[in-house]
């Protein structure tokens, strides 16, 4: 028969157990928290206020104070010229239940309320942290310039855009604050009727600010022209493509003289005809 002895709780055991206890609890809390934080990131389709930093920097720099949204709601240029009443505010602050937007951060949904591109851009100077970067919408004269805003890029679904069907619609073209610059109408012949033109809206990606007035104006059930963040809307050719005819782009890889470029390799030793017809009998 063995005698049961009580394990001795020494000061050392108490210290190590308690340290493990605290570390474990801290780790548990940290993991749960970090897991939730990761899920709390905004969708890539979120449209941010004008002059917002790139999304990752925006998220770490925005303090969620709402000063931009308040400046937007109470802007001076907020009167609808047709009704004489104030327009609703563009910028909303995400709630915990707002799908796809990090809680407490400002965003807008162009189809609901687009950005009206105020001359004085009141939302940007209101930002205390620099998450809305005033310098990015300031022109060379040191003035705020709404043409430098960049919230996204209008994109046309040419299948559902009725102008591409041949119907006469230029609502987006006329709604655009940079009319005939950001959206141009491209006239092409309508071969179906033979005597009409397609008035196809074409977005100039170098001019479009992504304000969304076109998306708001679009008469189709679900907008055929819509704003996407540039990160989503644009491709990237990569550094390995060089426009040899573009002096600036060529300089990216350094000026190289023709005679220093070696194009000769082992395959060059064969003649093209030999290479293709090798071993073929014509008899």
């Amino acid at each position: 028969m063995s005698t049961h002895t009580k394990p001795e709780i020494t000061a050392r055991r108490r210290f190590f157990t308690s340290a493990a206890h605290h570390t474990g609890l801290g780790l548990l809390g940290g993991l749960l928290w970090a897991g939730y934080a990761d899920k709390a990131r905004s969708s890539v389709l979120t449209l941010r206020p004008p002059a917002a930093l790139p999304e990752a920097d925006f998220l770490r720099t925005c303090i969620k104070c709402g000063l931009c949204a308040e400046a937007c709601r109470n802007r001076d240029s907020n009167i609808d010229k047709e009704t004489g009443k104030p327009r609703p505010e563009t910028l909303k602050m995400a709630k915990a239940s707002t799908a796809g937007v990090t809680v407490g951060t400002p965003y807008f949904v162009a189809r609901d309320v687009p950005c009206y591109m105020c001359d004085d851009i009141p939302c940007v100077p209101a930002c205390p942290t620099g998450a809305l970067d005033e310098a990015s919408v300031t022109n060379d004269e040191g003035e705020l310039d709404f043409r430098k805003m960049d919230m996204g890029l209008a994109t046309v679904d040419t299948n559902s855009c009725i102008a591409f069907w041949g119907l006469q619609c230029d609502l987006c073209y006329r709604a655009c604050p940079l009319m005939d610059e950001a959206i141009k109408l491209h006239y092409t012949r309508n071969p179906r009727t033979g005597k009409h033109a397609f008035l196809e809206p074409v977005v100039d990606m170098n001019v479009c600010t992504g304000c969304g007035l076109c998306e708001k104006a679009c008469p189709t059930e679900k907008a055929a022209i819509f704003v996407l963040p540039r990160e989503v809307a644009l491709g990237r050719p990569g550094d390995h493509y060089v426009k040899g005819w573009d002096k600036k782009d060529q300089q990216r890889v350094g000026e190289r003289k023709m005679d220093t470029i070696i194009t000769h390799d082992k395959r060059s030793e064969k003649k093209a005809t030999d290479y293709l017809n090798d071993g073929v009998s014509y008899e």
């Binding site: 720099t61 239940s97 205390p128 942290t129």
Partner: protein, 267 residues
């Protein structure tokens, strides 16, 4: 009414601030715009939450001057004058947890429930975890779960599902642990405790007048700070005291009072 003086003053401040914030958004008032995370007084003086700024720096943000100045102003105000007064005089969640504590007293829950023990230092661990998670995630980690800013923004911009978080905190305080949120877990409370450690405003006890009725200990949300009651005449020195003044309100014996500008004789 005399035993509710500071309680009423606190509610006026808390609700008054919410009204100013609400009006700034809804009607364009200029007095106090923004939210509790970062505000602007008269469109000029910035005020910012030092803990939010700390998390953002941990996340690697390069911040504008306004928000840094705002955080310094707040840190200096509470550090020199207010102590941990933010928690009981400004923070809107205080109204939720005070309500839970009140229901608790009425239902005598303390006398019935099984005790759950959580260290009151948990808030300091929460600060550390918040900063580490901020650094890892790349954004201010507490700010996406903070019931304080969710309540504050809810009043100004409309409540969403975040209101559920406030109900959760109410239930936590009511049924799980007395003063669970404000007295144990909230890292912002921890930051304000540390900030206000050497502030001038504090509660002072006069044990000569004390009749040991213990009403103060009944209502105090940080009851450990009142360890001198009936024993020693001294100031509350533990930083977790929120300067809410509830103990002063309920004391019928004039044994407790605010002690301001007691420079040098901090005992």
């Amino acid at each position: 009414m005399s035993n509710m003086k500071y309680l009423i003053l606190r509610r006026i401040t808390q609700i008054g601030l919410l009204v100013l914030y609400f009006g700034a958004h809804a009607y364009g008032w200029k007095m106090l715009s923004g939210t509790i995370s970062s505000s602007s007084v008269l469109g000029k003086i910035p005020l910012s939450d030092p803990f939010a700024v700390l998390q953002m720096l941990a996340a690697g943000a390069s911040l504008g001057l306004d928000v840094i100045v705002g955080a310094i102003i707040i840190a200096l105000f509470y550090g020199i004058i207010g102590g941990r007064a933010f928690c009981s005089w400004v923070c809107p969640v205080n109204m939720v947890t005070d309500a839970a504590a009140w229901v608790r007293r009425k239902l005598l829950i303390d006398k019935i429930e099984r005790k759950v023990w959580v260290t009151r230092n948990a808030r300091y661990y929460m600060i550390a975890i918040a900063l580490v998670v901020s650094a890892v995630a790349g954004f201010a980690a507490f700010e996406i779960v903070s019931p304080i800013t969710i309540f504050n923004r809810g009043v100004i911009f409309g409540f969403g599902a975040g209101a559920g978080l406030l109900v959760a905190i109410f239930l936590l305080d009511l049924f799980v642990l007395k003063n669970a949120w404000c007295g144990h877990l909230c890292p912002l409370g921890g930051v304000h405790s540390l900030l206000g450690k050497y502030a001038l405003l504090s509660v002072k006890h006069n044990s000569d007048n004390c009749t040991l009725c213990m009403k103060c200990k009944d209502v105090c949300p940080e009851v450990q700070v009142l360890n001198m009651i009936g024993k020693r005449s001294e100031r509350v020195v533990q930083p977790e005291c929120t300067n809410c003044g509830r103990c002063i309100d309920v004391c019928d014996d004039d044994a407790l009072g605010f002690d301001i500008l007691a420079l040098g004789n901090k005992k």
